[in-house]
């Protein structure tokens, strides 16, 4: 008869961030261990709190299944020697599979007759098997950080202090890290009372409930949410869930009970981001949102119990008051000086050893922002250049603030607050506030174009500086978050539609760094190349996430950073036109033309610049192609001027019949050298022309493209 299995690993309080991934592992590894041991079961689930990791498996078979398999061995002639005794080979093969040589059989195969071992692994009782595999499963759990704490030197996320392992009604006996398994369950620390004995695995959750533990995280989350909402009503505001505090609280508790408290209205003068930080980060309290900003109340969550509720609330309020008075004190100190004065203090803050102080960075970023403004002016992009320069200049000034030293996450937010406090133009204040945007992959960009340019300049300087001194990210290590900064820069250019030459901006950023990092001309070019490749790699993954195919992205790679919004328009067009039946065949023909040119160049063929001479061409097909190219050129110029790549590529696709005809009728590599040169010139013109839209030689045929896509996934 099948039975249910319960394993609980009782630990000292586990960090909140460990819980969900560990429960996932526990479930997977337990199931894998059961399968590997051929022990059947119906279903499995894992549960846990800050103090326990549990897995419950339904319908575990009484015994593991018998495994029989046939293993082919050496050739059959090696069974016995001339003396009639078993050969060493036969004996060895038999022993390896736990058999006597006499039990070996033979099997006929197309390659001849071979020895055969019929290996039978017997079924084993579940209890015995589990006593062996459960400790191994526990040992195999991995944590972001682990420790040693006892003599066996096992490493685990936190010390193991209890093991409850029950199959049906029986204890599964084993020992790990000096702890012997048993049927004892400990309840919620403090209010949970005395430990209980678990008679049968199926009663696990109910027994824990009596001990005031809600072991299922989902159930805990639901209950908490309901109670939080009631507590919020009591506090007179709406819960602020931003930042994952709810999940963290679920992971940090066994029996969460909200407690509503209040603080003095005067602290509402503290800017909202700072107030939220004190509540959420320092105390793990939920802020309550009012009509405008926060209300002077909060919800804290206690682990268990209703006894001493007033005392707990008073404790929460007292601690909060102390923290808020600290925050107000820091704020007051920061407010005594202007952002301009703070800027002057940046000389004392190091940015990066070889790259000097934050003051130097700030000057570079301002100069780069001004350069960008000048570039954008040439493209008639409307911009308040003074504001952009001011944002770039002041962007880092808040790094010397007490509040930012206390809460580094508030960089930018506090700068914006102090800019407003100084009475600076709102455009500047907002730009400073959003200077570090976007802070995450999908998060918001600076709202204004001025803020976007300043933010972009900051990121480009970081990228150029880091690669110039050779601290590019490797593998998963990216200590300066350069990948995120590159992606941020690309998103700003693309989503803010800034027609800015990023390649030139990188060169300018390296030039501005010359005072700090003097690169030789050759090194300068190498670093510029590395920067372009690094940023293009981010662009590629950004486009890839948006659903463009790898070969489509490659087709717009050349000069792709010179005008990113334009690059995206080209990419969209390639992607759209690709559906046209003639497109991929055209790309193939194009690739052929490009290859012929490449080979000709290798052979030292001279190709006249500026295209063929009409009078020198003879065949109707080549004359027709030249005519078509003239027409296409005019069309492309018109479409490109209008930024209409779609129409442009359609015009290119329309060329297909003429091209087919050309290759069918005309021999490019003609005997006559002069004629050959003219034909090559015709192809060169074709390639130049089409490359204005996209490099179609990168486009793969249908099968290849799909294979690549599958490989990429």
């Amino acid at each position: 008869m099948s039975k249910d299995l319960l394993l609980e690993i009782f630990v000292e309080p586990l960090p909140a961030r460990f819980l969900a991934p560990t429960l996932e592992q526990l479930l997977e590894k337990t199931q894998a261990a059961l399968r590997d041991s051929r022990l059947g079961f119906t279903s499995a689930a894992s549960f846990g709190t800050q103090r326990r990791l549990a897995v419950f498996v339904r319908g575990v078979e009484e015994k593991s299944s018998v495994l029989s398999r046939d293993v082919q061995g050496p050739p059959a002639r090696l069974l016995k020697g001339e003396d009639g005794a078993f050969t060493p080979q036969a004996e060895g093969f038999a022993r390896k599979h736990g058999l006597e040589p006499a039990a070996l059989e033979t099997v006929a195969t197309p390659k001849g007759e071979f020895l055969l071992a019929r290996v039978v692994a017997p079924g084993e009782s579940a209890l015995k098997l589990l006593a062996r595999i459960l400790p191994e499963t526990i040992k195999s759990l991995e944590f972001p950080k682990s420790l040693e704490w006892e003599a066996s030197r096992l490493r685990f996320g936190r010390p193991i202090r209890g093991l409850t392992a029950i199959l049906g009604r029986s204890v599964i006996p084993f020992e790990l890290a000096g702890v012997r398994s048993g049927r004892i369950l400990r309840g919620l620390a403090g209010p949970g009372g005395k430990p209980a004995s678990l008679p049968e695995s199926i009663e696990y959750r109910e027994t824990l409930r009596d001990l005031l533990v809600v072991v299922d995280p989902e159930e805990r989350r639901r209950t908490l949410l309901k109670r939080l909402e009631a507590a919020a009503v009591q506090g007179g505001g709406k819960l602020d869930f931003e930042g994952g505090l709810l999940e963290e609280t679920v992971a940090m508790t066994e029996h969460p009970v909200p407690v509503t408290g209040r603080f003095r209205e005067e602290y509402l003068r503290i800017p909202v981001p700072l107030l939220k930080m004190v509540l959420k980060k320092q105390l793990k309290f939920f802020p309550l949102l009012g009509g405008k900003g926060l209300v002077a109340a909060f919800v804290g969550v206690r682990d268990g119990g209703s006894e001493g509720q007033t005392q707990v609330r008073e404790g929460y309020e007292r601690v909060l008051t102390a923290r808020l008075s600290d925050a107000a004190f820091f704020l007051g100190r920061d407010e005594k000086t202007s952002l301009e004065f703070k800027l002057s203090m940046l000389a004392r803050v190091t940015y990066q050893g070889k790259l000097g102080s934050m003051a130097e960075k700030s000057q570079r970023v301002q100069a780069l922002a001004q350069w960008m403004c000048a570039q954008l002016r040439r493209r008639d992009f409307p911009l308040n250049e003074d504001a952009a320069a001011a944002i770039a200049r002041l962007g880092y000034a808040d790094l010397v603030c007490e509040t930012v030293k206390e809460f580094p996450e508030l960089q930018g937010a506090m700068g914006g607050y102090y800019a407003r406090h100084d009475g600076l133009d709102e455009r500047v204040a907002l730009g400073v506030e959003e200077f570090y945007y976007p802070v995450a992959a999908k998060s918001a960009l600076p709202v204004t174009a001025e803020g976007a340019v300043a933010s972009l300049a900051g990121k480009i300087d970081s990228l150029a500086g880091s690669l110039a001194v050779g601290v590019a990210p490797t593998g998963s290590a990216d200590p300066f978050a350069l990948r995120r900064q590159a992606t941020g820069a690309l998103r700003i250019l693309l989503e803010k539609q800034l027609p800015l030459d990023l390649e030139a901006a990188l060169v300018e950023a390296l030039r501005l760094l010359e005072g700090r990092v003097a690169l030789s001309a050759a090194d300068g070019q190498r670093v510029a190349g590395e920067l372009r490749d690094f940023i293009w790699a981010r662009a590629q993954s950004l486009f890839d996430e948006q659903g463009y195919l790898v070969d489509e992205i490659r087709s717009v790679r050349e000069g792709g950073l010179r005008d990113l919004p334009d690059t995206l328009r080209r990419l969209i067009a390639v992607h759209a036109v690709r559906r046209h039946a003639d497109f991929e065949p055209l790309a193939a023909v194009f690739k052929r033309a490009a290859n012929i040119l490449k080979q000709a160049a290798q052979k030292g063929e001279v190709v006249p610049e500026g295209g063929p001479e009409r009078a020198a061409l003879r065949e109707p097909a080549e004359l027709a192609l030249l005519e078509a190219l003239d027409l296409l050129s005019a069309q492309m110029t018109e479409h490109l001027a209008a930024g209409s790549y779609d129409a442009c590529l359609r015009a290119v696709v329309a060329l297909k019949p003429k091209l087919d005809e050309f290759f069918a009728q005309v021999m490019v590599m003609a005997e006559d050298r002069a004629l050959r040169a003219q034909r090559l010139a015709l192809l060169a013109r074709l390639v130049r022309l089409i490359k204005r839209a996209a490099d179609l030689s990168e486009i793969q045929g249908p099968e290849k493209a799909e294979a690549r896509l599958a490989a990429a996934r």
């Binding site: 960090p15 704490w149 403090g190 682990d303 008051t321 102390a322």
Partner: protein, 292 residues
């Protein structure tokens, strides 16, 4: 309700009953109880130990001239160090709070992940800060490394913030209002000290002299280590560490220098630690626990 000295007495009584040797503070300025040789050396090597002591700690940069009700430039820790860590150590800790009148049933006791690290000692551990109704009252650590070497057997260090606990017990919002005993307040004893030392550390300290002393004690430590005088050499570690703290509060250390200073303290600490392990533990720092 316990006054400050009764609070200390209760903790001493509790941990004494658990078999800890009650030792006295070490007679030098230091930033944390971990610097007491009973912990620094106690955590090293294979021999068991169990000690408890009050340790005055100096954090010059935290001084607020006696004006901030929550921050002190000098305060007291109550420290427990036990090796190897007993299996029921968290339970023992909870019982110690109960001995202070803080019943787990009536309070919110939370264990918040907080791994400890001392860059100057090259030491690190895994553990928590313990929150009592939202207030951090204890740092609880399983030591894992010292001078970048793994520690085995593993010690557990419990550091109680005495002023914080007393403020909670006495329901005071201002540390200087704490009853030290029934007639003398914490402020009576220490407010003037806070004022004067803040002035000294922030405004008056002779940075050039302190920097010179740092250099001198560093060389002296190296010399003593060369002579295999582990304990006096360790005193030099404690001294340079404190000198660094004062220099930093005085604003006399730039960011780059900071890393260098820390590296120098750590270098000396590591040397002393290796010497200690090489020579074998002097008996005085290995206290056999009675019945923990």
């Amino acid at each position: 309700m316990l006054n400050f000295q009764e609070l200390i007495l209760e903790l001493q009584r509790f941990w004494s009953r658990q078999g800890c040797l009650l030792i006295q503070p070490y007679d030098m300025e230091k930033g944390a109880g971990t610097f007491n040789p009973a912990t620094f050396f106690g955590a090293l090597g294979p021999k068991p130990t169990a000690v408890a002591y009050v340790e005055p700690c100096r954090r010059p940069a935290d001084g607020r001239y006696g004006n901030n009700p929550n921050r002190l430039g000098k305060y007291f820790q109550f420290q427990v160090l036990i090796k190897p860590a007993p299996a029921d150590i968290t339970g023992l800790y909870v019982r110690s709070l109960k001995a202070l009148g803080l019943d787990h049933h009536k309070h919110d006791l939370r264990w918040i992940e907080d791994d400890w690290e001392s860059p100057t000692l090259g030491a690190s551990g895994v553990g928590w800060e313990v929150w009592l109704d939202g207030m951090e009252i204890t740092q609880f650590t399983y030591f894992q490394q010292m001078g970048s070497l793994p520690l085995f057997p593993v010690s557990v260090e419990i550091t109680y913030g005495l002023e914080r606990i007393a403020m909670y017990l006495q329901k005071k919002d201002d540390v200087y209002q704490l009853a030290y005993n029934d007639s003398v307040s914490y402020g009576d004893l220490y407010k003037e000290q806070e004022r004067q030392f803040s002035a000294y550390h922030f405004e008056v300290a002779d940075a050039a002299m302190l920097a010179r002393h740092f250099d001198e004690y560093e060389s002296e430590g190296e010399r003593l280590a060369g002579l295999k005088l582990t304990l006096p050499a360790y005193d030099c570690v404690v001294r340079v560490s404190h000198l660094f703290n004062v220099l930093e509060a005085r604003g006399a250390i730039s960011v780059t220098e900071r890393a260098q200073y820390i590296g120098r303290v750590r270098g000396l600490a590591k040397k002393v630690m290796n010497l200690y392990l090489e020579l074998g533990a002097p008996a005085v720092h290995q206290m056999e626990p009675q019945h923990v």
